[in-house]
Symmetry: C2
Subunit: 161 residues, 2 copies
Amino acid sequence: MDWQATRRGETIAALPDRQDAHLVFIGRLRTPFASRDQCPRRGDPESGPICHVEVDATWWPALAGVEACAYLDLLYWMNLARRDLLTQSPKSSGQILGTFALRSPVRPNPIALSRVRLIGVEEGALRVRGLDCVDGTPLLDIKPNRCPQAGAGTEHDHGRT
Amino acid sequence: MDWQATRRGETIAALPDRQDAHLVFIGRLRTPFASRDQCPRRGDPESGPICHVEVDATWWPALAGVEACAYLDLLYWMNLARRDLLTQSPKSSGQILGTFALRSPVRPNPIALSRVRLIGVEEGALRVRGLDCVDGTPLLDIKPNRCPQAGAGTEHDHGRT
């Protein structure tokens, strides 16, 4: 499957020749999906397979307290995705929609966001359900989830102010 | 308020000297909050003030279809935040917690995530409720929200596969 090719009706942007900020990968996601065509269309935090979030040793102290969060938001980098599509045709629908009306990995900043259920905490790693990405995908961030009924309003859900 | 200073019990990482990926800012968030101490601790998608999401003209076609999304996830760049705290003491609690157990803007990749309610769509801009950030904050991404009861299961909620 050539998911990098454009499809009928898709439009392409001239990407700005700028680097406005940089990211540091903080770990890797370990999933049972060896290639993109094995990935589910959407992760399932309740009945999806158990995956591992491997955190680089530098950041292990930053996991303190995460065990109290029933659900987490994981941000990760879709390093295989092109960044220049303005409109896209999801295979499953045939519609043409703007990139910002889709959760496709193809977007100007290919940051994926998955709400996962926290199953367990090990030294430097988390066991979660709900991931949808290829094994080895770079990790960017871990946050307590704030969906209205899941994980909201806990004492850990503070900003810094 | 010196929110860049460390507080008792906070610990600092030696940040990796790497740039693993780069971001392109795609617009700006316009809020009534002129400085960090005016920002609410958490945005309110139902009764917070109306804010404007200004999208750069390059990306206007990527907004097609976004009007069908009742709630959106906005990703934006906390350009004022330090990136090296492993543990933090939120002012509101006095506890020491790991960065990944908090939604603080201070984190290795300072990408903020807010669930906002879409109020209206103009040419190249969205009106939303639920933002908590300083006026002028750089925008990274707009996605349909997938919280279980809000915005889930719509026909636009597809991946690219």
